[in-house]
Amino acid sequence: MPTSDEIFEKVQETLVDALGVDDDEVTPEATLIEDLGAESIDFLDIVFRLERSFDIKIPRGELFPENLASADSGFVEDGVVTETGVAELRSKMKHADVDAFAADPKVENISNLFTVKMICSFLEEKLG
């Protein structure tokens, strides 16, 4: 099993290739959307690259859950994720820092859950 450092290096390389960013921008804390400029289609590209790089299969929605806060999800009221919604996030995104999000659960903050560290933690469990 690769070490945490090895996983981080490969994730860094993946994000540099997928997002056209510099490697020093890819820190563990960096958020994919706000800091690294990822758009929706980039998530698919990142999943493909991680699969090739780590020789694993990542089923749809496992790393990047879809429709987390869509209008009909029932998890959002007045632009804020409800307690049930936060619980849903915890179950679907156990590698993300949902505690930090829960302190200010505005819908627009959901994107901050997608960090480099989240990908690394996901891979550590997957490869473990």
Binding site: D17, A18, G20, I41, L44, D45, F48, E51, R52, R60
Partner: protein
């Protein structure tokens, strides 16, 4: 659909098609195409963007065929493309696409463009899949479609054969 208004073909014919794996198409560059008159005056070369479109059509149809054209295939992203040389009127550009990933959500192809042995371009293209009944369908910019039904005519290209009448003494020009 864009295919009903115009036929946006940037490949002339498939020359190899290995279902689910790889495809190769040819694009014959000709001065009869008006875009070459201005690109550039006195220095006619095939625009890189149209080569990317040709490579995307080659790879997009390869991906679409793998799933029996169940999905609309959309050119979503070109993560990497490098132009090494160019193609002029009279050149035959051969676009090769190799399927790297293919799944329900979309796929990735590795592509090259060659004139003879000379590498003209290489890169990667990512496609997203949409179902016809997807609620996002109407919001998609139609220019991003790799193919609509009319583009599927490309599979008929070349079927006309060479016109030689093979009956004894036959000659189609007579």
């Amino acid at each position: 659909m864009i295919g009903d208004l115009m036929r946006w073909y940037w490949i002339d014919r498939f020359v190899e098609f290995d279902s689910g794996t790889a495809a190769k198409a040819v694009k014959n560059v000709t001065l009869a195409e008006e875009h070459l008159h201005d690109h550039f005056p006195g220095f006619a070369v095939m625009p890189g963007s149209l080569m990317v479109e040709g490579m995307a059509q080659t790879g997009g149809i390869l991906l679409g065929e793998k799933f029996n054209f169940e999905y609309i295939v959309i050119l979503a992203k070109v993560p990497k493309i490098t132009f090494h040389s160019w193609a002029c009127p009279g050149d035959s550009l051969f676009y090769s696409a190799k399927l790297l990933d293919a799944r329900e959500e979309g796929g990735t192809v590795e592509v090259t463009a060659h004139v003879g042995e000379r590498l003209v371009a290489d890169g990667e293209i990512v496609f997203a899949h949409l179902k016809q009944d997807d609620p996002q369908f109407g919001r998609i910019d139609q220019k991003n479609f790799v193919f609509s039904n009319n583009l599927m005519d490309i599979f008929e290209s070349g079927r006309a054969g060479d016109g030689v009448d093979e009956t004894p003494g036959g000659n189609p020009s007579e």
